[in-house]
Symmetry: C2
Subunit: 654 residues, 2 copies
Amino acid sequence: MASLKRLLVGSPIRTARLAHERLTKKTALAIFASDALSSTAYATEQILLVLAAAYVAGQTDAFSRVIPISIAIAILLVIVAISYRQTIYAYPSGGGAFIVAKENLGTLSGLVAGASLLVDYVLTVSVSVAAGVEAITSAMVGTRFADLHNHRVWLCLFFIMFITVANLRGVREAGSLFAAPSYAFIFSFLCLIGYGLIRYYLSPGSIPAPNDADLKIAEGYQAHPLSLLLLLGAFANGCAALTGIEAISNGVQAFKQPESRNAATTLSWMAALLITMFLGASVLTHLYNIHPLEHETVISQIARIVFVGKLGWFYYVVQATTAAILVLAANTSFAGFPRLASLLARDRFLPRQLANLGDRLVFSNGIVLLAIFSGVLVWAFRGDTSRLIPLYAVGVFLSFTLSQAGMVVHWWREGNMLRGMGQAAGRSKPAAHEAMNSMADVEQLRRKSHWKKYLVINGVGAISTFIVLMVFILTKFLHGAWIVVILIPLLVMLFQRIHRHYLEVAQQLSTEGLAGLRPIRHEVIVPISGIHRGVIAALEYAKSIAPHHVTAVYVNLDDETTQKLREKWQEWGSGVSLVVVASPYRSLQRPLLNYIDRVKRSSHGEVVTIVLPEFVPARWWQNLLHNQNTLFLKGALLFKKGVVVTNVPYHLEH
Amino acid sequence: MASLKRLLVGSPIRTARLAHERLTKKTALAIFASDALSSTAYATEQILLVLAAAYVAGQTDAFSRVIPISIAIAILLVIVAISYRQTIYAYPSGGGAFIVAKENLGTLSGLVAGASLLVDYVLTVSVSVAAGVEAITSAMVGTRFADLHNHRVWLCLFFIMFITVANLRGVREAGSLFAAPSYAFIFSFLCLIGYGLIRYYLSPGSIPAPNDADLKIAEGYQAHPLSLLLLLGAFANGCAALTGIEAISNGVQAFKQPESRNAATTLSWMAALLITMFLGASVLTHLYNIHPLEHETVISQIARIVFVGKLGWFYYVVQATTAAILVLAANTSFAGFPRLASLLARDRFLPRQLANLGDRLVFSNGIVLLAIFSGVLVWAFRGDTSRLIPLYAVGVFLSFTLSQAGMVVHWWREGNMLRGMGQAAGRSKPAAHEAMNSMADVEQLRRKSHWKKYLVINGVGAISTFIVLMVFILTKFLHGAWIVVILIPLLVMLFQRIHRHYLEVAQQLSTEGLAGLRPIRHEVIVPISGIHRGVIAALEYAKSIAPHHVTAVYVNLDDETTQKLREKWQEWGSGVSLVVVASPYRSLQRPLLNYIDRVKRSSHGEVVTIVLPEFVPARWWQNLLHNQNTLFLKGALLFKKGVVVTNVPYHLEH
């Protein structure tokens, strides 16, 4: 086992190397942006899937609504990106929704944001991997591998395992694994958009008629004329494009110095790319009359039409890089989930095991947990993106809203502080000067003086994302969002329950009220199964720790054997008293436990030590040849108060 | 878990009730004979399956050979039954092949017999249950449950579980469960034979033509004209009728007193019934032109033809009782296997856990083991009787042969002793008289004086069964018997390996060479994770067992925390020295183990005690919230020689 782990994960890394495991902007873009950028591979399709409900109801122009909806989403995206740039500067040590909400809105809001983000990370992995597998199976349409579609759940699980292992190896190695596919995707997707637009304007007549034989409608929708609700539903579905945009603000610490500036620049680049690619894809679907199909993705259809003839090979480049980026997009969550879980664990809202850095300097437990949850989800929803999407964005937009609202409060407080300083300055120049010096960073102060502007920006962000959240719950509740709406409060309750436990433990373990070490009085019991070297070693040990308070106990299973033991005891007892207890039901454990209870009751607060003779076979399989009485007894004694269990092993050879 | 066990298995029974759990002859016949009698349900069919090979090769009278073959088997049966009656009298305390072979031919022969019997018991369960399920699925032919045939493996496993639970409840209760079905089967089968014969002689013209559409040939046979080998193969297959006949001699102790006489009478009854039923079935198949079919058993076909018209309901009585007896026949092995396993375990050839009486006074571990093995076998052979049969009788006839050969040696020795006594009597009457008195039992002596006759009887038995064994290996080796031929030596080697281990352990644990308890010198190490009440309890304990030899060890994971601990130690250390060890890879366990190793190396034979502070949460799930470092450390320390581990638990509340 250990060597298998080493082979997959690599050798341990020293703590001292922690500082070196930081990311350049290029690597960070590949890791953190893969989620957000990859969503362009399915966001447009999710809009079309809802519009298809109006299309089958007879409104042949329904699909053209993809353009205004995409523009609305792009505007929302700009607002959210600008909002998050502020967060990055205000929280250079990493300002995920959890931290921002907790500091500014209180612990409960922080926990709600934390729960939303955790759910979101799990869904990101599931949706991305499922969409990546769909890109692969789309490319197989018309080939003899067409039935790969039926094995998509296994493909998804395979990819999740692959990413898990990559991440367990450590964050920098993961970055170098993922950089090439990310940039290849950006390049091929931009080529698709560029060449698609040029081709359309050079030969607008060569567009094939849309294929409606295999038309797919979004999960939970039937034929229905265009209505506001339907448009809002399409908009909400398309908002999947925004998921992942917060990843950078959560992981500012992973950047090289200066962390904030590098992170903000990366965020801007990411937003620009995202808008270009998302709008480009939407425009192309409109120009090329693409309809959503059951067995082929929208992007695959566009690429097939655009790269026809001599450029046919480039279709496969697009599909391959799309699949790669999607599968690897899940990696964003593998950076984010364990980090957030460790923050929650450090604050004692999750098990403390999640706070430990593993031996490769990554939060191994969090990585494994994420792999399990997302694997289960993919399996439960049969790897179907369109069934996972309704669950997706509730958590995302809830955390957006809480984060932005927290930033509003943040700026309000900064403003109050500055005003306080200004008043102080009015009264006494030197005091204000001192206050300014104590801040040390003039740049910081300069930024803070714009607090009103920032407050407005984040306010707009908070309100917009809150509205979208409401739209989401309104349009998607019955389609699956209810699961998340129920799950998030449950998670928050779990966090609080865990927190209470840790507080209680700390209180119970506190040394308050104690005054130094107290002396202890002993009573030692040695359960014996006969007289052999193992038992003699235990008796010797027992006599050494409490020379005059040792009793040996023997369970009588057979009168004859017991009589022989009594005789042998004359020789070996060395003054230790022997107690024989009866066992009418041939059980060893029950009579022993009863005896120990009796001794405890009459011991007036003395510590009762059970010295267990135990022989340890030389080979593991030899354990099968011996009763595991000692093991069972140890287990039963663990729950008795005031009983100390001591194992005196006797090692066998061969 | 515990209460589920109680519900299924019942409350524990006191050891003192052991003597009351004996069987009357009627109950014993039901339990021990169910295996032997039930084999009449498939033995004739197994002969026909081989003869079918000649039938399809064009020899239309091939099936008539079933009569001479059955008579040969019946003669063999009489020989074996008479032989075993002798064993019962010679070994009133239970004379299975294992004991007889061991006492007279030596340990190795005993082990071979033991291995054969164990294999045989497992196969009995598998074959009987599979044949019982076939009786059920045969009755479904032509009804809408006809596809039950495809679920036969699950049905088999269900029945095995049912019998297992019944047996775990205890032997007498099992007897009362099984008596009614056994007698119902005997009654209905005798009715079938009687009415079948009467009907044939009253209206010989009403016999339908044989159905050959679905003809089945024995596993491994192709169309082949009648040859000696084919006839021997058919004979060998039919010898399945003899299996189970030894069960009574193995379990004489389970009878009421006088055990031997009751057991011998039961054996005679069983043999008489067995011959009547087996020959009756063979004669009917011949009279009614029955051919072996794929989807219906031979007995089902006979019963269908015999009980036609108004008596049609009796067909279902026959099938139901046949199924019941077959499924319950497995019960023979559930009495025999655990008993034999316990004998082997008492002689230290099997794990000693198999020697323990469970809390319902049955050998629970043996019962569970048998259930597992037979379940696996049924599953591996897809519940097909004809595929299991070739494996079946090798073990049976090997143990028959060894047992009878052992009896020959037994009588030879008795004879020698009597001759010795006779010579002594010739020299001095009183000495001979004394010798006779010392035997106390004149009846016993009277029997022994016939030793020559008995020697011949058992000799004939041994030679006949040995010949059949050779026939079996000759005709069935390639059809599956090779598995058993390989398995039995492997089992014997396992027995010997286990035996050697126990001998070595006994030697290593022997107190020889020791002289009383020696004093011990201590070195105590307390690994600590900080200073809290749990740690303080451990320190107090450590100081009490070795006041001046306690060291606390702390693993430095973080310099700042370590510094704080050092400061706090001034207050709480009470003179105990604190050692801080470094951990460059953030592991707790490795540095601690290394430190313990260093102390051990420099301790010059002193005992090193590790006192582990451990807090025990009030509820099991709370363990998930704490690092299981103590647990892992305990596991790692178990394999270090000369290290004693002491747990000082600190119990948390809530």
